[in-house]
């Protein structure tokens, strides 16, 4: 019956489960950033990566019985909101000049 308890210890979530989930979502966001050409979807992938970092902050906070990680996640959310506003303004600006949001065509620092 040892394998039953081992199976149960995998079934019940621990810190490692949350960290693995966080790493998986971070990797998915990284692949999205590298693969997709649409600038909006690149920004969505960056939001995914920020979210996965938030998840690991919060699981570490729970693991340590402290709440500093919550404050850090809160600040990350605020920074993500500011970043999304500026990034989408940049996308609008680029779209007006290029008639497209393909990141492969954004090669100049002008405009």
């Amino acid at each position: 019956m040892a394998w039953v308890s081992t199976l149960i210890s995998y079934w019940e979530p621990t810190l490692a489960h949350y960290l693995l989930l966080s790493a998986a979502v971070f990797s998915i966001g990284l692949i999205g950033v590298m693969v997709r050409r649409n600038a909006l979807i690149v920004f969505m992938s960056i939001e995914l990566m920020l979210n996965s970092v938030n998840l690991s902050f919060i699981s570490f906070a729970r693991y340590r019985f402290e709440m500093d990680g919550h404050v850090f996640a809160f600040f990350i959310m605020a920074v993500a909101a500011a970043e999304a506003a500026v990034a989408l303004a940049i996308v609008i600006h680029v779209f007006r000049h290029k008639r497209g949001v393909n990141v492969d065509e954004m090669q100049e620092l002008k405009y």
Partner: protein, 266 residues
Amino acid sequence: MGFWEPLFFWLFAFGALITSCAVIVMRNPLYCALTLIADFFCFAALYVLLSAHFLAVVQILVYGGAIMVLFLFIIMLLNMRRVRPASRFQVHYAIATIAGIMMFLFAAWAILSAVDMEEVAEERERVAEQIEEVEQEEEEVALRTASAIPGPEAPVDAPVLYADVNELAVEQAYAQTLRAWRDGHATPSDHKYPDFDPDRTYELPPSLQPDPEQAHVVPGREGLYGTFKPVSIMLVNRFVIPFELTAVLLLASIVGAMILAKRRVA
């Protein structure tokens, strides 16, 4: 731990994984944004499972509400359908995917090499026994409640190794920290900022002071962990300068977004 909490963890974990994959696989940016909203809701559910209730609400309000409305608005404003390129398989897709998978494997190796699952099982049994003891003591306390004798301090003998200890243990440990702050044995900055004026004792605001009428309540049932009050107390005490700087950051981003997105005046 029960049966339902792991079940919900797996449900929302796979939901988050599937919707994350859908975000980067979907062709139509509108579908990407909608699956990203579902992903944010899965993350909010995981925050609730980690007893971060305040952040779960903020996640839904800020990410699922504000940011995604902005994304959807921009997608519909730009009308991307005619500029979508016919993207076919290319070599750099495979290279990027392999690099991402390698990244995940490296992280997984780093995490799993720090964890011994047999040790986890032993720890879980130990914590279960401890919780049983605590519950027995609570029953005894409940019997003595009529005579208003304060109950024994619940043993929180460091079940801190893994994240799966139950809600009760989390709240007890947090309540112990709060009691230490209240009694002046420790300050919130102990062992964190050695230069922070260690002589200053931390006083709980009146809203957190123990209610004498509630004195018979078993300590550790405050249920404060992850709620709005402790986060806000930290935001206006130790993290007040980053908090104010966030206001400056948001102002700067508002001004920057306005300047970038406005039409150039001839």
